[in-house]
């Protein structure tokens, strides 16, 4: 046994889980898919007194249509979300991003909510939630609150979640049928953490951009919303878009870090490149002469 000893409970309802969280007074950790938590336990980087396993709570699983959006239960497995027809129709870029989350073997256990609520800055699910303007529904024994994904992330693996709170749903707002999706990431091998990546959606009406949502992964301490690029795209007709200039604005909002995989300068350079190429391909723009 590698982890430090802990108690274990597997509630079957949200209310039970919330009261277990409240009783633990900050000493509990939520176990969803476990694909990040279990390594942390095995390495003893995490030593909770009690593990609250939410895998047996049926009301936390599945994809449903909510008014104006699609609601994903946090314990929905990544593999199930990847094959979900509702998500494929209404949140297609999320499905595209999911195929880059972990490996075939880890997606069978790993959950959408686990990835969203951990806040790994290079992960696909947090950046997708930020780009699309998703809402994170959070509950504790004291009540429910809704937090925009954009305000949810504070730093690497740090979110606004309080110790007694549980993510109970992620609601992705609808984007118009036929909206343009943007996704590209660069990783050393499939399944590795992305060095740099971007995800987003654009709505076009009458040949001009009428709505834009774009975020970076691996380009700062949290998912980074490309605000300047989003604003610059709005109202532009396709022939007036200069992908490289938009990419420069997008990179200006980032704060990439240096690590042993890549320097911040490398991340900016590759980020600018993939942003330009992805925007150009998605909008069918010609390369500048």
């Amino acid at each position: 046994m590698k982890p430090a000893p802990f108690d274990y409970v597997a509630p079957t309802s949200i209310d039970e889980a919330l009261s277990a969280l409240a009783d633990a007074g900050g000493g509990a950790t939520i176990l969803a898919g476990g694909q990040t938590l279990m390594p942390l336990l095995n390495l003893r980087m995490s030593q909770p007194f009690i593990i609250i396993d939410i895998n047996r709570i049926a009301e936390l699983k599945g994809v449903t249509r909510a008014s104006g959006g699609t609601r994903v239960g946090p314990v929905t497995r990544q593999a199930d979300a990847l094959a979900d027809a509702t998500l494929a129709q209404h949140v297609p870029v999320m499905v595209e991003a999911l195929s880059h989350v972990g490996h075939y073997q880890t997606r069978n256990r790993g959950t959408v909510g686990g990835s969203v609520s951990l806040g790994e800055p290079a992960a696909e699910m947090p950046a997708t939630a930020v780009a699309l303007g998703a809402t994170i529904e959070i509950r504790s024994s004291k009540g429910t609150r809704q937090v925009p994904a954009d305000e949810f992330y504070l730093g690497p693996y740090m979110t606004v979640l309080e110790p007694d709170e549980l993510v109970t749903g992620i609601i992705y707002p609808d984007w118009a049928d036929g909206h343009v999706t943007l996704f590209r990431e660069v990783a050393q091998r499939p399944g590795d953490f992305a060095l740099v990546g971007m995800v987003g959606a654009l709505e076009l009406s009458g040949g001009t951009v009428s709505r834009s949502g774009i975020a970076w992964l691996g380009m700062g301490p949290t998912p980074i919303k490309a605000r300047q690029a989003e604003a610059a795209l709005l109202g532009k007709s396709l022939d007036a878009i200069d992908p490289l200039a938009i990419a420069e604005l997008a990179v200006a909002d980032t704060a990439p870090f240096d690590d042993h995989h890549a320097s911040s300068e490398y991340r900016r350079t590759v980020g600018r490149r993939i942003f330009t190429r992805t925007l150009r391909e998605a909008l069918g723009l010609k390369e500048a002469a």
């Binding site: 046994m1 802990f6 597997a10 279990m38 396993d53 593999a79």
Partner: protein, 157 residues
């Protein structure tokens, strides 16, 4: 800390046991039930050697608590060959193509490929190769495994 009584089916046989909450499924399979075909190496989800099938979906047995597998049906590498010793098609393909050398990573690879090529599934060669990103092999350079995958592709096509 907390002990838990669990019951599960492994390779069609019912088993029970009492586990500490912190016991991983992989450790339970090996240490308490004797299914030592499941290999534990990195124990943080990177190497893939401990991969088993849980209720029809492959998973890292080091990233799952034994208590979570209560009531599940688990298949380990010991459950693939037929009773008379006839190898599973994936095992045969790995053998035919020298898809292993030391064999430490092999149980996980075989479980993943057996799941991908299971009844009614027709994975492409590329899908199987992509799934190999979840397994680390330090002997073969993967070329024998790729040949085994190609053989499996032609068998299922």
């Amino acid at each position: 800390m907390s002990d838990h009584r669990i019951e599960l089916t492994v390779n069609g046989r019912k088993h029970g046991g009492t586990v500490e909450a912190r016991t991983s499924l992989g450790e339970f399979l090996r240490e308490q039930l004797g299914y030592t075909g499941t290999h534990l190496a990195c124990e943080h989800g990177v190497c893939g050697a401990c991969t088993v099938s849980v209720d029809g979906a492959v998973a890292r047995s080091c990233l799952m608590l034994a208590v979570q597998a209560d009531g599940s049906e688990v298949t380990t590498v010991e459950g693939l060959a037929e009773a008379d010793g006839t190898l599973h098609p994936v095992q045969q393909a790995m053998r035919d193509n020298f898809g292993l050398q030391c064999g430490f990573c092999t149980p996980g690879i075989v479980i993943t490929l057996a799941s991908l090529t299971g009844e009614g599934k027709e994975p492409t060669e590329q899908e199987m190769i992509d799934a190999m990103s979840g397994h680390i092999c330090r002997c073969t350079g993967y070329q024998g495994i790729r040949r085994a995958i190609r053989q499996l592709t032609s068998e299922t096509a």
